[in-house]
Amino acid sequence: MLFLFIIVPLLLAGLLPLLGKLSKRFLPDLLASAAMLFLLVLSVVSAKPLIAGGGIIQQAFWFGAPLNIRLLLDGFSLFMLFTISLVSFAVTLYSINYMDHYGAKANYYALLLVMIAGMNGLVLSSDLFNIYIFLEMAAIASYALVAFGRGHEELEASFKYLMLSAVASAFILLSIAVIFGMTGGVSFGTVAQGLKTLNVKYVVGVCSGLFLAGFGLKAALVPFHSWLPDAHPSAPAPISAMLSAVLIKVSGVYAMTRIFLNVFGLTPALTTVLTVMGVVSIFVGALAALGQNDIKRMLAYSSISQIGYVVLGLGIGTPLGIIGGLFHLFNHALFKSLLFLNAGAVEQSTGTRALDKMGGLAKVMPLTATTSAVASLSIAGVPPLNGFWSKLLIIIALVQAKMHVLAVLAVLGSVITLWYYLVLQRYAFFGKLNEAWQGVREAPFWMSASMVLLALLCVVTGLVFPFAIHSWLQPAADVLGQGIGVALNFIGF
């Protein structure tokens, strides 16, 4: 059943270009939304066997016949699956209206579906090399999606993204090759077992470095972040949302965390490097965001900063830190996608992304303004919205781990975050209405609907967060907390 997560979007992606010839808009819209809704329901349903027992490995079936595909589903992957499905559902709804003026909608949905299939595959795989394949699959689709508008900026951004990403993939693959050369296998179990018996900490250190550079580039950690502020703003708004909210986390943070915590085992050296990278990312991202005039570019830099928090939380490696990191990952998926969708709505209505040309849009686009305010407050860590709790958990975890300096810096970073989101809100939505925007209208129905959905989720997650933590963050964190035991358990399969 888990195989459906990969094969359904992939099959639909194959069919869509053909179906697109029959009906240019209606059929692609309907099918893509239906597929996303199906995945969302599926990810909720899949939680059932998981809550009953620990992680499972499931063999895929193809029309009743067993295939040699083993999918790993545990708390962590389920958590990621749910996040992916949720955001992609909202984004697809948004695309119904937004992508109309780009043309080639069927092609667009097909690429989006391939990207989602790639991410789902990555999350479900239990093998280093599979991680690489699905990473690339999602990445290739994302290059095309970034360049989808085919303007000069889009192409330039996509090209740089591709070239840097190719280098990152090469680093990852090289590291896999070296590990393969040492342990003779690439599945999590074999690798964990092999590294446990071999005493090769320096080579593992070099491999960790290569992984860190490779996945760090996918996750846009400083100093590997340089492609992100170009690529994310250039993409169409729903894709920006998808990339910032999910892709960098799945192909960067998820893969990195899975490998470091469950396969290599977290060492103090790695903790130090991860937390320092996290804090540097927080500051570089936040300070760079402060000076931006392009609303989407500001959001892109902010993603770098927020990913820093996630990595900081996960890098601590304590149970509370992991919960904080994962919770922030989920929250960031919610509010960053919402912010990008807001920016898209504004751009579509006014035709500009420059903050200094906006102003007073709250009067003509009340829904966009309200949802954007919710997201901004949330991301800046204002109680009682969800972003506050996750940052609080991370900071508490830092204090518990006796990393006081980092805790202080994390709080300081959050102050800067609040600063630039206030700037954003003031320039875009408050103040006097610019006369040019007198005739501007609120975003169309589906766009508004998906923004409201995400904003409600932000608020609700903030209010019921203890429930959220106990029900499905705890299982995910437990998986990571077990360390390499998780991987060793799966040797028999």
Binding site: G14, N68, A104, A110, G121, I133, F134, Y202, V206
Partner: protein, 161 residues
């Protein structure tokens, strides 16, 4: 023999980088691919060798040449002349560092014998089935990407430049 093949591979790679003519670069790359395929044959990796020959030396080279033919390069991108001096220095430093690191790091790794495996097709179909799904996905992505980039409606975004 093995060493010579490797040296040939590196030499043609260097040519591909340093050559001033793009066409020559592409062809040097193809030759380097052929050397790599020979290395694979020498190591016994026949299937990988065949694939390297047909796909990389063949298909990718064709792709490159097509792209070079399709692009117009007004005023020829001027590569800096310093490469003739800088590159040898870089290469020397790289080689020295390489030898040092490999001796020190990899020389100490104890061996684990990998589980012996069956025939190639068995491995590909029975162990790496999931990879095939990924391959299909990647091909989809590539095809869709090219379709998206070369679609016929007018490009958006020219307006706001």
């Amino acid at each position: 023999m093995h060493l010579f093949l490797l040296i040939g591979l590196v030499a043609f790679s260097i040519m591909a980088v340093l050559s001033r003519d793009l066409l020559k670069s592409a062809i040097s790359l193809a030759v380097a691919s052929i050397f790599l395929a020979l290395v694979f044959f020498h190591l016994g990796a026949v299937y990988a060798g065949v694939f390297e020959l047909s796909v990389v030396a063949g298909l990718i080279t064709v792709l490159f040449i097509t792209a070079i033919a399709l692009t117009r390069n007004d005023g020829e991108v001027a590569e800096s002349k310093r490469h003739r001096i800088v590159f040898p220095l870089f290469f020397l430093a790289l080689a020295v560092l390489d030898i040092l690191v490999m001796r020190k790091l990899l020389g100490q790794i104890p061996a684990i014998q990998g589980a012996g495996s069956g025939t190639f097709s068995q491995v590909l179909w029975n162990q790496r089935t999931f990879d095939l799904v990924g391959q299909v996905g990647a091909i989809f992505a590539g095809v869709l990407a090219v379709l998206a980039l070369f679609r016929h409606d007018s490009p958006k975004g020219d307006s706001h430049e």
